[in-house]
């Protein structure tokens, strides 16, 4: 299942082990609730699925994860070409001078142990790239310049 948070597509590898699901050292077990074991403590997460999103409540936080339907991109109103959160640039998928189309992934950012694909918010030409793979960014940093055509 492809998910996005605030317009940014995210993905991570989840391992299934019998009835448990693992993401790194975090374990989930599904019962009437989803039980999360993190840092040696087991706590409940409440979940619900609406038409187009999964809603999760955990430790006082409510997170909406939009379900990306196959064939659609998560091009959101959110981040644009600035870093939505602090993290590390994993991969730059475009080159200076390249033209991109709306929704095309241009850069992969790792934050909170997950990969966030930064998508082009509109058609245009990449006129500058400000970070290389391996560099750290802070939230709000301008990652790329995108000139509309």
């Amino acid at each position: 299942m492809e998910l996005s948070h605030l317009g940014e597509e995210i993905s991570a590898t989840i391992v299934r082990d019998g009835t448990s699901f693992l993401l790194g050292d975090v374990v989930a077990e599904v019962d009437d609730l989803v039980w999360i074991t993190i840092d040696g403590r087991k706590q409940p997460a409440h979940v619900a699925k609406s038409k187009d999103a999964w809603w999760v409540h955990f430790a006082g936080h409510t997170i909406r994860l939009d379900i990306i339907e196959a064939g659609f991109s998560a091009a959101g109103s959110g981040g644009g070409l600035t870093a939505p959160m602090p993290g590390k640039v994993l991969e730059v998928l475009v080159e200076t001078g390249q033209t991109v189309t709306e929704g095309q992934a241009v850069l992969v950012l790792e934050a909170m142990k997950m990969e966030h694909r930064i998508l082009a918010p509109r058609d245009g030409e990449i006129t500058a790239i400000h970070f290389q793979a391996g560099e750290q960014v802070t939230g709000g940093d301008l990652l790329l310049d995108l000139q509309a055509e």
């Binding site: 993401l23 975090v26 999760v56 006082g60």
Partner: protein, 497 residues
């Protein structure tokens, strides 16, 4: 003694009034628009009548239709709640002329307080301090010249206004024309009256309001203050009593001023006199609300007075039952809205797939919704009022934080997390609460503090739930685990989103 009260309102305040009626042994009549069918308040009421019409003007604001229903069901009184018809003097008059009891102040008091310019003049005459400013007779040119006299920064306000509509803060003479045009246009659209007046903008001030009760036997008392400084878009989100800014002496002075304000318009019933309190400790009359207020539970928790029950008593011509003011402990109310605080607090819609309210000591929940309800854009996005009481302010904030952590709403974006972070903010803890604090603390807008591993957990939980068929499992078990067979009998127990 009243026998049958029609509630000309909806949602949480209709529930609140219906419950007070039940406790007082009075029958309640709910009226509702078609799109409110089956909501909580229609479930609680003894008699339910559906209003004809589609728009708010044709339903909850349709005084003729409401009065006809009141006659048909033989109601003897009408409670307007807040908003809608509660401060329309013509409606109050029409109720009284229909030989029904109006659960509110005399229409003349509504008129005198409803027009903000008239109210300022009345208050000046009663020696209640008003905010330095100018009433304006005339159009845009007169507003602009009044602005020059008042000086900047200033606030333009609609004389017929309320709820932040027709209001503009202006910081320099260059902005005044455009702001005045905007304020007048908004005032005309909202209230059908484009008169605007000018007040000095008292930044860094607190919003302090005094609860008033007056009966028709000549008793007028105040029930202490509520501080409602924390506002977004000129609407309150966090209200508490007592205020950290009031010593007993200042409370006495403001209480006396509020009583003087109420007496100046021969007020009867429950009302609220709003003041701005400057950092220098000066207070100025803002306006008087001649109705029960959204945040009334805060006062109820610290004074022990049931304000709605007192309204019913006073309307029946009885004496109010409460005597000397006694405030005990600390109460805080937060308003849970279906809105996105990280996107300029814009209203949100959705299905209340999960709605689990907090429990435990010192918690009160006033709401008109429950799990399974749909939040639409038809009405105000208020979902619930969460009110906590504790012996001290510090403990009340701790209790509120705990309660907000327990509050689970899935399926619709809410401001719960925003309210929760307010509880931890040093300025809130210190009581440095001012009407401009949300802009002061989050000039670039608020976004949730997502440090830690919350997103990681959410991602895992959603995927684990999806893969396990969470939710569908419940559906399948209710139709006998076959998953496929759907006879007319078993589909009855299915819930469609």
């Amino acid at each position: 003694m009243l026998k049958r009260v029609l509630i000309a309102n909806r949602g949480e305040i209709a529930c609140r009034i219906i419950r007070a009626c039940k406790e007082a042994g009075i029958e309640s009549v709910a009226i509702h628009a078609a799109n409110d069918s089956g909501t909580l308040f229609t479930e609680l009421a003894d008699i339910v009548v559906e209003l004809e019409g589609d728009t708010i003007a044709e339903t909850y604001l349709n005084s003729e239709q409401i009065l006809t229903i009141a006659k048909d069901v033989e109601a003897d009184a009408i409670h307007p709640g807040y908003g809608f018809l509660s401060e329309r003097a013509e409606f109050a008059t029409a109720v009284i002329e229909s030989e029904l009891i109006w659960i509110g102040p005399p229409p003349q008091a509504i008129v005198e307080m409803g027009d903000k310019m008239t109210a300022r003049r009345t208050m000046r005459a009663a020696e209640v301090p008003v905010i330095p400013g100018e009433e304006v007779e005339g159009g845009i040119e007169e507003v602009i010249s009044a602005a020059a006299k008042v000086g900047y920064p200033l606030l333009l306000k609609a004389s017929a206004g309320g709820g932040g509509k027709g209001m503009r803060a202006v910081y320099s003479p260059e902005e005044v024309r455009e702001a005045a045009e905007g304020a007048m246009r908004e005032a005309l659209n909202s209230f059908g009256d484009d008169r605007v007046y000018v007040e000095r903008l008292l930044s860094g001030s607190r919003h302090i309001e005094i609860q008033i009760l007056a009966d028709s036997h000549g008793n007028t008392i105040h029930l202490g203050e509520r501080e409602c400084s924390i506002q977004r878009r000129h609407q309150k989100v966090f209200e508490e009593s007592p205020s950290v800014a009031l010593e007993p002496e200042l409370r006495q002075q403001m209480g006396d001023a509020a009583i003087a304000a109420a007496k100046a318009v021969s007020f009867v019933g429950a009302g609220t006199v709003e003041f701005l309190l400057t950092p220098q400790g000066e207070f100025f009359f803002l306006e008087m609300n001649t109705r029960i207020q959204v945040e009334h539970p805060v006062t109820e928790l610290v004074t022990g007075v049931d304000l709605v029950r007192e309204q019913l008593r006073i309307a029946a011509g009885e004496k109010m039952s409460c005597g000397q003011l006694q405030m005990r402990g600390h109460a805080i109310e937060v308003r849970l809205y279906a809105e996105d605080p990280s996107n300029n607090f814009l209203p949100a819609i959705g299905d209340l797939l999960t709605f689990i309210a907090p429990q435990g000591p010192g918690i009160r929940l006033d709401t008109g919704v429950r799990q399974g309800d749909v939040v639409t854009s038809d009405y105000d996005p208020l979902l619930a009022k969460l009110i906590v009481w504790a012996p001290s302010r510090e403990e009340a904030l701790q209790r509120l934080a705990r309660a907000l952590d327990e509050f689970i709403i899935l399926g619709c974006t809410t401001n719960i997390r925003f309210l929760r972070e307010l509880c931890d903010h040093p300025d809130v803890k210190d009581g440095w609460t001012t009407t401009d604090m949300i802009e002061r603390l989050w000039p670039e807008g608020w976004s949730p503090d997502m440090t830690g591993r919350i997103l990681e957990v959410a991602y895992l939980a959603a995927n684990a739930a999806e893969i396990s068929g969470y939710g569908q499992k419940i559906l399948n078990s209710s139709i006998g685990n076959t998953g496929e067979s759907a006879t007319p009998f078993t589909t009855l127990s299915r819930r469609y989103p």
